[in-house]
Symmetry: C2
Subunit: 719 residues, 2 copies
Amino acid sequence: MKPFADLSRFIYPVNVAVVGASARPSSQGGRLYENLVRHSRIRGKVYAVNPAYCEIGDAPCWPSIRELPDGDIDVALVIVNAARVLDTLRQCAERKIPYAIVMSSGFSEAGDAGRALENEIAQLCRDTGLHVYGPNCPGFVNVRDRIGMTFSPAFRHDLNAGCIGLATQGGGLGRNLLQGLSHGQGVGLWFSAGNEVDLEIPDFIACMARDPQIKVIGLLMEGVKDGRRLTAALDLARECGKPVVVLKIGHSEAGVRAAQSHTASIAGSAAINSAVFRQFGAIEVDDLDQLLAVTRLLAMGAPKAGSGLCIYTFSGGTAALATDIAGMANLPMAAFSDQTHATLKSLLPDFANIANPVDTTADILRDQDAANDCLRVICNDPHVGAVLFPIPMDYGDVTDGIAQSIIDVSRATATPIVPVWMSRRMGGGFQLLEQHGLQPFMSVSTAIAALSRIWPSAGMQPSSAPTSEDAEHGSSASEGPDPARQQLSEAQSKALLKQAGFPLPLSEVAISAPQAARAAARIGFPVVMKVVSSDIVHKTESGGVHLGIDSEAAAAAAFDSICAAVAQAAPAARIEGVLVEAMLPAGGREVLVGVHRDAAFGLVLTFGLGGIFVETLRDVAHRMIPLQRQDARNLLHEIRHTAILEGVRGQPPGDLAALEDLILQVSAFAERHADTLLELEFNPVWLGPVGQGAIALDALIVTSGHQEARAILETDANP
Amino acid sequence: MKPFADLSRFIYPVNVAVVGASARPSSQGGRLYENLVRHSRIRGKVYAVNPAYCEIGDAPCWPSIRELPDGDIDVALVIVNAARVLDTLRQCAERKIPYAIVMSSGFSEAGDAGRALENEIAQLCRDTGLHVYGPNCPGFVNVRDRIGMTFSPAFRHDLNAGCIGLATQGGGLGRNLLQGLSHGQGVGLWFSAGNEVDLEIPDFIACMARDPQIKVIGLLMEGVKDGRRLTAALDLARECGKPVVVLKIGHSEAGVRAAQSHTASIAGSAAINSAVFRQFGAIEVDDLDQLLAVTRLLAMGAPKAGSGLCIYTFSGGTAALATDIAGMANLPMAAFSDQTHATLKSLLPDFANIANPVDTTADILRDQDAANDCLRVICNDPHVGAVLFPIPMDYGDVTDGIAQSIIDVSRATATPIVPVWMSRRMGGGFQLLEQHGLQPFMSVSTAIAALSRIWPSAGMQPSSAPTSEDAEHGSSASEGPDPARQQLSEAQSKALLKQAGFPLPLSEVAISAPQAARAAARIGFPVVMKVVSSDIVHKTESGGVHLGIDSEAAAAAAFDSICAAVAQAAPAARIEGVLVEAMLPAGGREVLVGVHRDAAFGLVLTFGLGGIFVETLRDVAHRMIPLQRQDARNLLHEIRHTAILEGVRGQPPGDLAALEDLILQVSAFAERHADTLLELEFNPVWLGPVGQGAIALDALIVTSGHQEARAILETDANP
């Protein structure tokens, strides 16, 4: 592997030469020269090189690198026609100039001829040891030492130096980051090396990893040229304790195409890139806002391990919204210490919310001292790792005062306070925060997503799909135990549902081993046997289920074995018998069809993958009852893994028509019993191949009371 | 169901009374009165009511509602102490005032006494037909008719009327939305009814659905009080062709708590709410930025069905980034018509990108006419449904000119142009756009997420996890066919890997039916039989696999049956024999362990769920080779559904230690053959319960050539 280049003389040169310097201020050569002689603090000399001039301004201009006077030159800046670049670089190599920045375009980005030129430059670098930065790039900016080896007219505004180091493969987006970091913690060094013929992103990472003033490294990459050098550089950054935040363009196929036509590098597969970033400890983000946000937060300092977030605002809705978004991002919320709680109670009015999120209400904020005290006591709480302060609107004096509080308290605490200015009206409070380097975030979502990326042990676990979080059945039960709830036994439920016309397998209840053997023979082998008991919810765990019983003797043995296992696992449970049931052929898929009562919307039907998948995949969808056929059809396609039902890898397609029928049948049944039914669940439903139907293997009914259970049993027994 | 209230006299009243009007300008009563008499256009009279004053300013003040002079009053605005509210409302009912807005707080949000008061108000409404809006709310704002029945000092700035209707349960966040819509399409009506004792969100939805000037309805909800009324109102909005965008706070458990303590309504389960919104055609969003963005886009008009997005910018990196984000959001990209293509080719320089995304490069933008022509021809292309114009930085004259182009072209086209001002530096271009009502978005991600929500048939399908998009194996093959690639047959692969020490089931290759029968007997029943042929990749689909063979006769029959099926399915395939293999007990889980070569990072190991799950769940994770034990351990927990391996619902835990060993063994083998190995895949790997190991049921090796295949065969045969 090619070693990382030593860039110390590059980033802070003494003498530089500008090849292509121009007296025309609007030309790139003119702007570059002006950036160096007027806006930069070059310690040594800036040599102008251009055969067209004898002097530029008051300074002499030389016809070529070769003809420059003696003396060490650290960096040659080259902004001449692509055809003249190679000769210029040869002269640099002859004069032992260690680095050249080639800003000219017309290389590999422009086609085959340019690519050939670029190959010759690469060869020259290998042969001579010359290091080339570029071509086709906006140059290099050292903000902290005020050195702008760039033609950008915006360089003169790059005044906000800080501990953030940037390496970007695109100049435009790099400039965006610089403008985004123009208040608060700023950028120290910005590398943007275009086609990267020689010096590459890994060289810049390594340079910044070893730089004592750089604390955080931000990367914007369009492709990975050399994976081993990249990972070695990431490793070095990790060893040096410098967090790396990376935005890699090229997630989608369309994005990959655009990246390839823009640079000459190889856009690797997105999943592999992401895995490598994770493996080497880099924080990968999805967009520019996140790159800025995470980098800025890291520059403020990461929250301490074990701490939680405090959400602090003066609007109840805003508190709820931010808490919600933080919850979805798995951010831990801080529990206040008793002391914090007591102090807040003394400071805030009775109706304010003293739990976390803190809703101070707007009134308290009119007393600046009390407002500062509140915020200060929270920042000093050891359980609080950071304070998110969303400000939903510009509210004149009130929000000006909030800004002042944040500024005052920030000075005296190490706990980061993260203000979010949510309004589009950039009022006085916004200006005040920005002027004091506490540049507010502009979106609660962006701030929270960034916090979740840097919070110790938060946010890294992949969250399950948002629609399935609350997919637990019987959630109405969480409102408190309802003594009237009446759960029918499996056997009762199945008997009832079979009479109501639902497709269920053949079955009988046996209360002795011989009876079980005879029942099994009548039903036909193989059979399944399951304990019947209203006291047992999880039959499998209690040893109450035997599968694949293929003889009368086995059925008799299973009866005894089930009774013994259940008696041991649940001594208090009353065993009402053992259900003997036809076993369906292997290869069917398992789904779930259920109904429960939602507090706001009444009976709701749930469909999804069943069996063990209910808990692992949590792949379900819902509809209010009653459903039309189109609703049932849509429901089948709303789950994430419909493909499993449709058949994959040679599996036959499932009998979706039968499944639709079953769903509509459940909907109609639930509607008929809307007054009394609390829950109904078929899980699993065996979904056979087309023509073989959908058969409910297990069933559960919960009603609002004993009478109601009886009513259902009676009315639907003879529908 | 309670019918929706007729709110026509409420939203545009003639005469109003202010109970609690005050002469102190800083009090709520003072601000409310001032908003009405000074900043509103009330067609009739504003009566001040307050026993403490005889007049306020030049106008008389009356001691009570009862003592007001004769005449119709449409709305009574009540801002007195909570204890005096009920009596005031009784007087309103006596005088047949149809509506009252109660802004006072101290009701259900303040505890049991307040809740009792609120119940009495509800009863009064039921008894008398009086409609009450509130209590505990900031009032009602009719921006378009300039009526501010609110105490908010910000009302005087609410000047940007438009076709958007808002109903929000929190006042602070509603104000945020109003400030966010202060340029471009603005808000016509804003309802924010606090505790909603009588008039509720569904009444406001219904009112706006029927209002001819409202085009889009935005909702911010903290809870659902009455699901049936809500869905009926959503139905009405759909019938009236008014899209509804909703942000429902309460996705996370923490969020639910905050919402309940803030309002007195019931926060339903998030999944059920989402399902209902989908069922009734409302567009649900996750945060305030999206609520604003989607509402604004809908006010501009939805893109036509079948059209695609054009991404148009002057920076290559920005084009790639935006295309990437659009691709991840499943937004369709427009393919330009031939005419558009030809026109662009004549207008843009050779090196500009004429495909979509369009990267004009910055230079062309200096010619304002050409820039306008480019943008115009794209907007006129019938395949283009909207143009996203991301502007990555403030670039002085250049970005001022861009803003002017967008303004000029927007006037002459129905195709929405969506500018995104990505920089934090709000330069002249930004100001210009905002002044002309083309309020730029501030984030590419936000704009694209919003576009994907309104694009016909885009974005609605749940996307699979981002890390698994490119999880296809053998992706290096997509670089083009490699004639030297050499795939070993399953039997060769297995023989080699068994000798290299990998755990594989007992197996033999048979080339006749009798031989198969004898092999099966030696191995022990049941066995699996699979065709051996390098020409067949998907053995199952070709009828080349038989499972569960339990006798010598069955094995002989399976041999013949496999040969016949394969000969029919793939007549050209050379059958080398049939593999007879021990069949592992049911109940094992299937995983995948594979290796492939990535262009940037070399050999990469993939682990994930196997069998049919490879394609359906796409639940995989990756690591560069070589792996340490900790890497292998982490890998097992990086997939989404680790729970399936750990055992759920009474399943025994899988043998994760054996799986770790297998992963490390694969890593070591791949490292040993790093020069020649292209792909290695064990799929499925049977993962038994703890102690029963992880056994590879199928194996595949691809090398870089025939010689290399032989070399692997020979070196690893005797390791």
